[in-house]
Symmetry: C2
Subunit: 302 residues, 2 copies
């Protein structure tokens, strides 16, 4: 079993990147694309994101042996429901959502009896929309598949091969564990970034203009993450509530301990933590998950 | 009054960047350099960071009309004390420290009667040491001067001209206000980044290897900031305690409100904040304070 026809439902950053990546890295696979927004469909056609941009989801999926839903996790169930009765026999239904337990449940409700294999390519940028996609988004990034226990092995292998062809490394994981891991490596970082950018822009003692002028002290990094798609992220927090609240609790405990260290002038505790965290950075770079150049190689000095 | 001879005390990222910047952008100014670590002095000499690398601070400052202390803020007083009796008449004493009220007090205690004009170029990378410096670090970044009320106007103008020559934009500010502004735009972002990286690496349910593999979901950005110099940052928190605790309180309040919104499924509150924060990102880019390319233009896809 191998994928020869992929339908991409939702043509934002992720959907369009899949389209570009297939075109460049797996051109033997045919693609169709659909987005509920006619303006996005027009843009996608202009950009050549998929072989055929269809005016209905039904048209897009009719020949597909793999359907990938690239919509906010809160919109998965409705988007999947609409495909019911129009799918090819044996077609694999997958997605790219950032929470997996809720998506698995939503897809199972929407398309009972179908081959559902949720997936999450851990990749993205702060930009949104069809024009934001690019073919190398998944190169050397991890794509996590969370097949149900009784999933068809051949279908899991086919989906795995598909993501490998797009340049990703594939990992199989339990949906619940995925949601906990991503709460730490993605959801809490986004929540914190959104919060501090909000806090900074609401202060009375410090003007917004000052916040912006002196952002190179560290704040500007958070503004990038806090520029991510608001609907996508709202849905992530609503759909991974348990793991996010659990990890947020840990973070808050640790922050409170540091607050106490600062208040009491306990330099040793601060220095100990600040020295330990460097090792993680080195490991992230060694594992090929970040640019090793200082400041991510930013070229804003010219 | 204009600067023709600068002594750089401390040859880490900031000190060495000043040396390189003078050489490239203001070559008519002579430089001397000193670091208390002989290995750093040897490296600095090899890299040509200053015209002369001296074996004592006294030698380095004897001809200087501007002395810039580039040491952690907790080490300013001791480093300045050692210069007493060796400074040229009328020499300006300045620094690059990230907290300004404590530094102003430390320098006033160490060198009473001297012309002290504290400064803070809001620029840096996560790297440390003499080899980390580069000439364009200050280009288009802001340098904040916090002269005391009775400061000599000609000296302030000379220091301002010096930083302008290195490519920086200069702003004059009250030390106390500086400390509040930087608590928001730099100190709290660093504290949060150090905390989340620490939290993530101490979990039992999620392995360190998982944290690293899936760091491209947002976490990796925090690892960069949390790789910053531990001694420098310990000192910042110990020396800007009041403003940091004040701003940390605001941040925690806002985070608690978001936590409540997540718990109660209040998507509207989340969406409203997540939409507002995009405008700040746009402003940061428009003001030339960050790279507009997606993901800071990272090139880690190859």
């Amino acid at each position: 079993m191998s994928i020869s026809n992929v339908a991409i439902i939702g043509l934002g950053l992720l959907g369009s990147s899949i389209g570009h990546a297939v075109k460049e890295l797996a051109p033997y696979i045919a693609t169709t694309g659909y987005d509920r927004d006619p303006a996005v469909r027009a843009k996608a056609a202009e950009l050549g994101i998929a072989g055929t941009i269809c005016d209905t989801a039904n048209d897009a999926v009719q020949e597909a042996d793999l359907v990938i839903l690239c919509v906010p996790v809160g919109a998965m169930e409705e988007a999947a429901s609409k495909l019911s009765g129009h799918l090819r026999n044996g077609a694999i239904i997958s997605d790219v959502g950032s929470s997996k337990k809720s998506v698995a449940e939503a897809l199972a409700r929407a398309l009972p009896g179908h081959t559902i294999i949720p997936a999450h390519p851990v990749a993205g940028t702060e930009q949104s929309g069809p024009q934001a996609g690019f073919a190398s988004l998944f190169t050397n990034r991890w794509c996590i598949l969370t097949p149900p226990d009784d999933a068809d092995k051949a279908a899991v292998a086919a989906l795995s091969d598909f993501w490998t062809a797009l340049g990703a490394n594939v990992e199989i994981m339990d949906a619940e564990h995925h949601d906990l891991v991503l709460a730490v490596t993605s959801h809490i970082p986004h929540l914190i970034a959104y919060t501090i950018v909000g806090t900074a822009s609401d202060l009375e003692e410090v003007t917004r203009s000052e916040v912006i002028k002196y952002s190179a002290g560290g704040f500007r990094d958070f503004t990038r993450i806090a520029a991510s798609n608001p609907v996508m992220w709202r849905d992530v927090f609503l759909n991974n509530k348990g793991a996010v609240l659990e990890m947020l609790g840990r973070f808050t405990e640790d922050l409170t301990a540091l607050q106490r260290a600062i208040r009491s002038g306990d330099g040793e505790t601060l220095h100990e933590l600040f020295s330990r965290t460097r090792a993680i950075r080195r490991a992230v770079i060694e594992e090929g998950q970040d640019d090793e150049r200082p400041d991510f190689g930013r070229e804003d000095h010219t």
